[in-house]
Amino acid sequence: MNLAIFLEQILNGLIAGSMYALIGSGIALVYGTMKVLNLAHGEFYMLGGYFTFYLTVQLGLPFWVAIPLAVLLAFLLGMAIQKLTIEYLIVRENWAFTTIAATLGLSIVLQNAALLIFGERFNSVPYYVDGVMVLGDIRLPWQRVMIFVVALATIAAMTWLLKYTRLGWSIRATSQDQDAAEVVGIPVRRVYMICFGLAAALGALAAAMLAPISAINPWAGIPILLKGFVVVILGGLGSFPGAIVGGLLLGVVEAVGVQLTSSEWRDVISFSLMIAVIWWRPWGLFGKK
């Protein structure tokens, strides 16, 4: 095989992986703080895609206005959904199961509501940037480069937020010890809500970035959710940095795996990797027991 093509595939893997990282880090954020496995996370991606589609294609807004708006909408929607459902379940005795079941139900509701509202048509958004970046023998569309840059910038911003802001401190404190966080004056329930919103926003951002290259339909969130799960298992459930590394790793593994087999086996490769990791290191590749 040609080296340039191989490198190109690795780069494409990293680019896909950067999106997986955004999805996975949202799941990790929610699980890390409130120990809730959100099965409706994929639907934030799906809705983020539709928001982007309607804002750019239907309303004709430029992408740099439409994308932040779509992300903001998802943030608000995420918070509202948390406030209306998880908020009540999390204080109950069997919350671990009921939250999983409720978010599963929610995911079905959102998918089918989207189907009724938007129809089953596949919608896509025109490229935000045109042209192809040429680096020696390697050719990458600028659109893909942009995806990667936005993902890295988002990860950097989230890392900064967690490390240096009041909100970030309260999120980290909540994820480490809820009672202790409550005692020092952190409104833990509000932190939950904000984290749910942030996770939704991260999912929507991934959708907005991918909208030009992969179509949006009511079921677009399902494969994304499953990929997100693989990412958080690789990185250790609930770990934000783990999700970032896990996402990039998964992207590259898939790229190499697809080269060795064919693209229809991509998902089998990633799920098998996940089960292998659970077997071997259930706490994740990087974390400690």
Partner: protein, 242 residues
């Protein structure tokens, strides 16, 4: 405050707490006055931790009232307590183990009502616990138990409380560290901060407290000053083995 000097700072009235089908506290009443050190004594499972959690708002109170400075704080969320001048050191320290010492301590001044004094408080806390400044960037979870307890107390003091609750401050610590923590409790009290702590060991407790309550099976069995309590038959027989 000038209106009624006799009014207790903390007034717990007939508090009942029930976990599932199990009643942990039965009509517990107790009072603590400003500037006092108060001990809540009792064996394991007597409810002495639960009463502190109930006061702080970490455990729901089924019936009864908790008043702080005459204001009803029953079942108010714990995160509001800091603004009312009460803070708590949880059982087994409960630091944010993945965060640095500095981050842990500064989180003690997280609440908006105390945030602006954070710098001054940090200086004061560092003067009480030099280890805070020395180990500033260490990950809290990697410290020894005694060191962690100091960070936990420092964190609780950052909000400038008038009342500090300490849940089993001596638990799992060596005798030398226990002496150190007892010294710290005295120092904290000398700053005019009232302290309520719970402990199994009666002798240890009355070394530093002016007043105490004895809980058994969720009920108040006895209360009084340290001296009175040490003289009581129950205490002498059961807890001092005389």
């Amino acid at each position: 405050m000038a209106t009624d000097t006799d009014r207790p700072m903390l007034d717990v009235r007939n508090v009942n707490v029930i976990y599932g089908n199990y009643q942990v506290l039965w009509d517990v009443s107790m009072q603590a006055h400003a500037g006092q050190v108060m001990a809540v004594l009792g064996p394991n499972g007597s409810g002495k931790s639960t009463i502190l959690k109930a006061i702080m708002g970490l455990t729901p109170v089924r019936s009864g009232k908790v008043l702080l400075d005459g204001e009803d704080i029953t079942n108010r969320p714990a995160h509001e307590m800091v603004a009312r001048g009460m803070s708590m050191v949880l059982e087994r320290r409960r630091l944010f183990t993945g965060m640095t010492v500095y981050e842990n301590v500064m989180l003690g001044a997280y609440h908006p009502s105390v945030q602006k004094h954070a710098r001054d408080r940090l200086e004061w806390v560092e003067s009480l616990f030099p280890i805070i400044a020395e180990r500033r960037d260490q990950i809290a979870g990697k410290m020894s138990g005694g060191e962690q307890q100091m960070v936990a107390i420092a964190r609780a003091l950052m909000s400038k409380p008038r009342l500090l609750l300490m849940d089993e401050p001596y638990l799992g610590l060596t005798p030398r560290i226990v002496q150190q923590i007892a010294g710290i409790i005295r120092k904290v009290n000398a700053e005019g901060i009232a302290v309520i702590f719970n402990e199994q060991n009666v002798k240890l407790s009355f070394g530093i407290s002016n007043h105490g309550y004895l809980l058994e099976s969720g009920r108040v069995m006895l209360s009084g000053s340290g001296e009175e309590m040490m003289k009581s038959d129950v205490i002498r027989r059961v807890y001092l083995g005389e």
